[in-house]
């Protein structure tokens, strides 16, 4: 008799389990309810930045168990890192959002004790509260890297433009195009694994590193790839980024089909197993740094007609092979 009830119980549990999984793999429901739409998410991002500027985290609408990282280090939110140093926020930020995943991103310039720094912020909103805050802050002084003159930086307004239907692509294709970009950068040997718009332009840490594009402006300076080759594709065909051994821990938490936007996170690992290399045109290059290092980044792509049109990135140096708390939670000694 007892066995009969037990069997019935197992049958019911199995049934419940099957019902619980009857949706697309990895999705919480077969219908994604938009609890906070595009403008709502941008509101959360703006509100977070305002709270940060005032160093008042109580106004940032944070979940009790919010995860906050700055340059891949998890720390208490409110008094450490940028929260303890911020002295101003420049106007003219770039913001994007993904209604499906509840993510929003903010790219702009802040000041710490009066010194400008480039900030890229990603937040995730769940049940009307921010549950994840991922920030990359690019500061000076540091190792050689792009750092555009903040007074000359403007964000291209096309980031917020809704694309005509025929120029849009599916979420999966948008990710594939962005992922192909990273595959191209990785071990960059001249092969191109993605598609670029002829008018492609890239702003890195406030520096226009492709030159010659309308709609983008940013300060020039040392470390600008545009001095070697002009244009997104030309640089990759020349193989100037060969030092990237790995583009690691890639994540695509924010995708917006309407606007053709993807925001990615990851690391560029420079193992520096060699300190000189040859471009596809025969020119010899030397690495600026001789020792292993990694670059941590938040990078936004604007994709129209399935081709990368605009790129904006904020990145900074971190110790070689440093992990991300969002890609590898509970990090211990995993080396993958």
């Amino acid at each position: 008799m007892q066995n009969k009830y037990l069997a019935a119980g197992i049958f019911v549990l199995c049934g419940l389990s099957a019902v619980a999984n009857a949706q697309a793999p990895g999705e919480p429901s077969a219908v994604i309810k938009v609890e906070c739409d595009y403008d709502c998410l941008l509101g959360y991002a703006s509100n977070y930045i305002e709270a940060l500027a005032d160093r008042d985290f109580s106004r940032a609408r944070l979940a009790p168990d919010v995860i906050f990282s700055e340059n891949n280090v998890v720390m208490p939110v409110g008094n450490d890192g940028l929260w303890g140093t911020i002295s101003g926020v420049h106007e003219g930020e770039m913001m994007v959002a993904d209604e499906q995943t509840g993510n929003a991103a903010w790219f702009g310039i802040v000041e710490e004790h009066g010194n400008p720094a480039y900030l890229a912020l990603r937040i995730k909103v769940e049940d009307s509260l921010i549950t994840e805050i991922e920030t990359v802050v690019n500061r000076l002084p540091d190792m050689p890297k792009p750092f555009g003159d903040p007074s000359t930086v403007t964000h291209d307004p096309v980031w917020s433009d809704i694309l005509p239907e025929e120029q849009r692509r599916s979420r999966a294709r948008l990710v594939a195009v962005a992922d192909g970009y990273f595959n191209t950068v990785e071990l960059n040997d001249g092969d191109v694994f993605t598609q670029f718009d002829d008018d492609c332009g890239r702003l890195e840490n406030g520096m226009l590193t492709t030159s010659g594009n309308s709609g983008i402006s940013g300060g020039g300076g040392n470390g600008n790839a545009a001095t070697i080759a002009s244009g997104c594709v030309a640089q990759f065909k020349l193989g100037i980024y060969r030092i990237n051994k790995r583009i690691r821990d890639r994540r695509y938490p924010l995708i917006d089909e309407k606007r053709g936007v993807v925001v990615a996170s990851g690391f560029f690992d420079h193992a520096n197993m060699f300190d000189r290399y040859t471009l596809t045109d025969g020119r010899e290059m030397r690495t600026v740094l001789k020792w292993p290092n990694s670059i941590s980044l938040l990078e936004a792509f604007k994709i129209r007609n399935g081709r990368i049109w605009r790129i904006e990135a904020v990145f900074t140096y971190v110790p070689y092979f440093m992990p991300s708390p969002f890609a590898v939670p509970n990090i211990d000694f995993q080396t993958r």
Binding site: E70, N71, N72, V73, V74, M75, N79, D80, G81, L82, G84, T85, E112, H113, N115, A117, V137, R139, P141, D142, M143, P144, A271, N272, M273, F274, D275, T287, L289, K290, W291, P292, V318, P319, Y320, F321, M322, P323, I331, D332, F333, Q334, T335
Partner: protein, 309 residues
């Protein structure tokens, strides 16, 4: 009654066995530890780690990031620039190498710790203070490892192991939130070097304020060090009076201007949050810290330690 006698007998035997084990020589004595470290330093240059005696599960970090052996310094055109010194501690099974290495010809201050268990390497922890970061760095040509770190201390000037650790821990307590209070004993002529730069004597800004380890701490020159955490002391040697300490020093940089105890206007060296990962050698004679040297690595603020419990 018989049962009680049997339990007592077993307990006595267990105690005897325990004491016997304590009296036994360490599995790997100082010479053994140094031998393994020497082999490591030889093999890293040839990038051949296949012959090293590895344990079953090996943990490896470089500048506080876990990675595979063969990555990091191993892969970056490695060379050993000077012979360095070996600091073994048979009691803990740790051995530290301190010296200068090169990557594609560019020199770095290098502190390496190996944990040896059953004559096999189970832990590799390395810190490389490289040129071109916001951390301190002095040209290696002007640097020489102090002979004090390998010289034996006279028997009557030695300090017990636990007290040595307490003194170094007190050093960190003095540097942390440095307000002039000293929580350790420091010799009047103590000197301190970071990445080859003498910060207690010479042209360094702190030395221009006042010379000497103790004098600088009494002046509160290092107040911006908000926290010194993940402190560990894997090598302690009573005979040479050396403690090797590892730590992470957080600078939250909530302010950039501050004053020394005598009222001098001071400014933080880097005006954004940062953390210094350090492997440092402390020399202790007559119960006082006489010399400090080591490597410092500029790390993202508040980076977590993969080693501290």
């Amino acid at each position: 009654m018989k049962k009680i006698i049997r339990i007592v007998s077993v307990s006595v035997l267990a105690m005897l066995a325990h004491n016997q084990a304590q009296a036994q020589a360490p599995d790997c004595d100082a010479a053994c530890l140094v031998g393994i470290a020497q082999q490591y330093m030889q093999d890293v240059v040839t990038k051949d780690f296949s012959k090293l005696p590895w344990g079953d599960a090996v943990r490896f970090t470089e500048n506080n990031v876990g990675m595979m052996i063969g990555e990091g310094f191993w892969g970056a055109g490695p060379s050993v620039v000077n012979d360095g010194i070996y600091l073994p501690d048979p009691q803990t099974g740790n051995v530290v190498w301190w010296g200068i290495t090169g990557e594609h010809g560019q020199a770095a201050y290098h502190g390496l710790r190996l944990q040896i268990e059953n004559r096999a390497i189970t832990e590799v922890e390395s810190y490389l203070g490289r040129e071109g970061t916001p951390d301190l760095f002095a040209p290696v040509a002007d640097y020489k490892v102090s002979a004090a770190f390998t010289a034996r201390v006279d028997a009557d000037a030695r300090t017990p192991r636990d007290r040595m650790i307490a003194l170094v821990d007190g050093w960190f307590n003095s540097v942390q939130l440095n307000d002039g209070e000293i929580f350790t004993s420091i010799a009047a002529d103590c000197t301190r070097t970071i990445n080859g730069l003498n910060i207690t004597n010479g042209d360094y800004w702190a030395a221009k304020q006042v010379e000497g380890c103790k004098q600088q701490l009494e002046q509160g020159l290092f107040k911006p060090a908000d926290r010194i955490r993940a402190r560990r002391y894997p090598v302690v040697n009573e005979e040479t009076g050396v403690v090797v300490a590892l730590s992470l020093e957080d600078h939250a940089v909530r302010y950039v201007d501050y004053k020394s105890k005598s009222g001098a206007d001071l400014k933080v060296e880097v005006e954004y949050p940062n953390t210094h990962g350090r492997l440092e050698l402390f020399k202790i004679v007559n119960g006082e810290i006489t010399e400090v040297d080591g490597v410092s690595v500029f790390l993202p603020y508040y980076i977590h330690s993969l080693w501290a419990e």
